[in-house]
């Protein structure tokens, strides 16, 4: 069930991201890109499997529990940091576009 719900949510988020990227308002485009990269992160977390406990080795003495894959969580942390940097840059760039063109309507920005 969790799997199904997550799959639907991921699909909807990607659809939303794509929809926003296709807008002509630059800030929405950046939001769309951010949503897409964050959706990819959520997807990455689900790739470690949805069952299992918190990846902390608890209950020593032969009582270790099945834990979920901690590697994907490390990967996602890396990806989040990278996404943070690129989003900041994209927002800075949008401001620059506004400065030079005095509009953020992409149909009016000369290219």
């Amino acid at each position: 069930m969790t799997q199904f719900v997550l799959a639907v949510v991921l699909g909807l988020l990607f659809a939303l991201g794509t929809f926003l990227v296709l807008r002509k308002d630059l800030v929405r485009v950046v939001w769309g890109l951010t949503i897409m990269s964050q959706t990819a992160n959520v997807y990455l977390v689900t790739m470690g499997g949805l069952t299992g406990g918190v990846p902390i080795i608890s209950g020593h003495g032969g009582q270790g529990t099945e834990v979920t894959d901690p590697l994907v969580q490390a990967l996602v942390l890396t990806a989040i940091v990278i996404g943070f940097g690129t989003t900041a840059f994209a927002l800075g760039l949008s401001y620059r576009v506004y400065q030079t063109n005095e509009t953020i309507d992409l149909t009016e920005v000369r290219g």
């Binding site: 990819a40 790739m47 990967l75 990278i82 840059f89 760039l93 620059r96």
Partner: protein, 530 residues
């Protein structure tokens, strides 16, 4: 072992150092150039250790593969690093005169070297998620370099470039996540080994078909990085917007990262996989994963050659001609790979990769020469529109001579490196045809049309820009000797490498063998456990 990480560390050190000594511009410039020289030296040392058939693996922090991150240097990586070393050295010397003082002291040198760190990391890593990280390290500075001069044309180009690459990164993350979930590992050698064992008793992968789909998704990302059709939108505007030496790096080296990733992942890693049954579609043959990618690569290469060539013929300025030409030329690099992926004869497959490598080298040298030449003309004349040029051959014999060499290298005239590149592309297609792959005549025809288009747009640029009576502006122009010097050195290098082609060929051959020697790669990374 640490010689594997030496190029990366040198580039990283130079980047941080140039960031720290911003207040002393002369020292900063000296350090930056020295860093590029040391980088070339480190690559040369690594090359001597690795070529022809050694594979050096470096386990980061001593964590053994497949659990830790592995850096792998083999002949293929070293060949690519060599290209990066030559172009970056030329570009950084050019930059010290070309980029304005403020730009240099604020951020240009750190950005340049950080980009070099990302490029070297991509060439050396043996871990697929690590490849994603290095791609990002390479892309971040390149976004800033595209927008560097900060005009409205630059912001617009950078916006396009950034947005497309952000989507590319999200897609790459999806593909990598999927690969991890289906193969259970991120280590390239381990993926390859598990793919080879797929379906057997107790194997990690039961059915390898999903891996093929994810690999195809990943191909879209690499095609975006290499700028091949249909992912070429960002190329012309970004190349026009970035300062000339940065464009030389983008066209000469960053694009080759996409090419390298295609060779490494599809020919070394994914080639191990076989489908349970053959694909029932026209053009596809066999059950191997490579057989699936052959026709796809062929379509991408053909479209790139045609779109790039046709568009370059009608551009009004030198930068535009070169930018579109670089789409077409990358098509020429992918074309022999397509043939190599389709045929099953190992000799022809190796020849195809050699052709792609030699062509990559030629394109990197010739295109960075041409972009920097156009940059120095822009600095001297204030324009590179073909309508404003004319008569340069009389007023500027040295500049014109260098352009001539670069253009002929792209056309493929002996004894330049471009001749061997083109020859090997035709040779690959011809041999594939002789070996029974009759569809290879298509590749031959495409290559022929592409060669004719190259002659057309280069001779047009020559006729309009360099022949005729020089106008007063052109007759009195003085080009900076440093800028001109770099361009001339690159032209001499193209001739020298073409005349003394033997070592280039043997290195490329070693690179191709390394790309196809799967067991050697796995042994080196996993320490013979395989």
């Amino acid at each position: 072992m640490s010689v594997v990480v030496a190029p990366m560390l040198i580039a990283l050190g130079t980047a941080i150092l140039t960031l720290g000594i911003r207040f002393a511009p002369r020292v900063q410039r000296a350090v930056s150039v020295l860093g590029a020289v040391c980088y070339a030296g480190a690559v040369a040392v690594l090359g001597l250790r690795v070529v022809p058939d050694t594979v050096l693996a470096y386990q980061l922090s001593g964590w053994q593969a497949p659990y830790g991150i592995t850096l792998v240097a083999d002949s293929l990586s070293v060949f690519m690093l060599g290209i990066a070393a030559i172009v970056s050295l030329a570009a950084i010397v050019f930059s010290t005169r070309f980029i304005n003082e403020i730009g240099q002291s604020v951020s240009y040198h750190p950005l340049f070297h950080f980009m070099l760190v990302g490029i070297s990391g991509s060439f050396l890593t043996g871990d697929i998620f690590n490849l994603f990280v290095w791609f990002e390290v390479m892309l971040m500075p390149s976004y800033v370099l595209v927008v560097f001069t900060g005009g409205s044309e630059q912001t617009d180009a950078a916006l396009k470039y950034t947005a497309l690459n952000l989507i590319g990164s999200a897609v790459m993350l999806l593909a990598i996540g999927g690969l991890y979930s289906t193969t259970g590992t991120l280590n390239m050698a381990d993926i390859s080994m598990r793919l080879a064992n797929a379906g057997s008793e107790g194997a990690a992968i039961g059915d390898p078909t999903p891996v093929l789909g994810l690999a195809a998704l990943l191909l879209a990302v690499f095609a975006l990085k290499a700028g091949i059709v249909p992912f070429q939108f960002w190329v012309p505007s970004a190349y026009k917007a970035a300062p000339a030496p940065a464009t030389a790096m983008l066209a000469g080296v960053t694009k080759k990262v996409g090419v390298y990733a295609i060779i490494r992942l599809y020919f070394t890693v994914f080639a191990a996989g076989t489908l349970p049954q053959a694909i029932a579609l026209p053009g596809f043959s066999g059950t191997g994963f490579l057989g699936f990618f052959g026709p796809i690569l062929f379509v991408l290469a053909t479209a790139s050659i045609l779109v790039g060539g046709v568009a370059a013929v009608s551009r009004p300025d030198l930068d535009g001609v070169f930018a579109y030409s670089s789409i077409g030329q990358v098509g020429f690099i992918i074309l022999p790979l397509a043939v190599a992926a389709t045929v099953s004869d190992p000799a022809i497959r190796a020849l195809g990769i050699v052709a792609a490598l030699v062509y990559s080298l030629n394109h990197a040298l010739a295109k960075s020469l041409l972009f920097m030449l156009s940059g120095s003309l822009h600095e001297g004349l204030g324009s590179v529109k073909l309508a404003d040029l004319g008569g340069l051959s009389r007023a500027q014999p040295l500049t014109s001579g260098s352009f001539f060499v670069g253009a002929l290298a792209l056309v493929g005239i002996p004894p330049l490196t471009g001749f061997f590149g083109k020859l090997l592309v035709f040779d690959t297609a011809g041999r594939a045809m002789a070996a029974g792959a009759t569809e290879a005549w298509l590749a031959l025809a495409v290559a022929l049309v592409g060669a004719i288009l190259t002659i057309a747009y280069m001779s047009r640029a020559w006729n309009r820009g360099f022949w005729g009576e020089p106008s007063e502006l052109i007759a009195n122009v003085r080009l900076s000797p440093v800028l001109l010097g770099v361009v001339v050195v690159l032209a001499v290098l193209i001739v020298a490498l073409g005349v003394g082609f033997e070592p280039v060929y043997t290195t490329a051959e070693a690179g191709a063998d390394a790309a196809l020697d799967r067991s050697g790669y796995i042994d080196a990374v996993l320490g013979g456990e395989a």
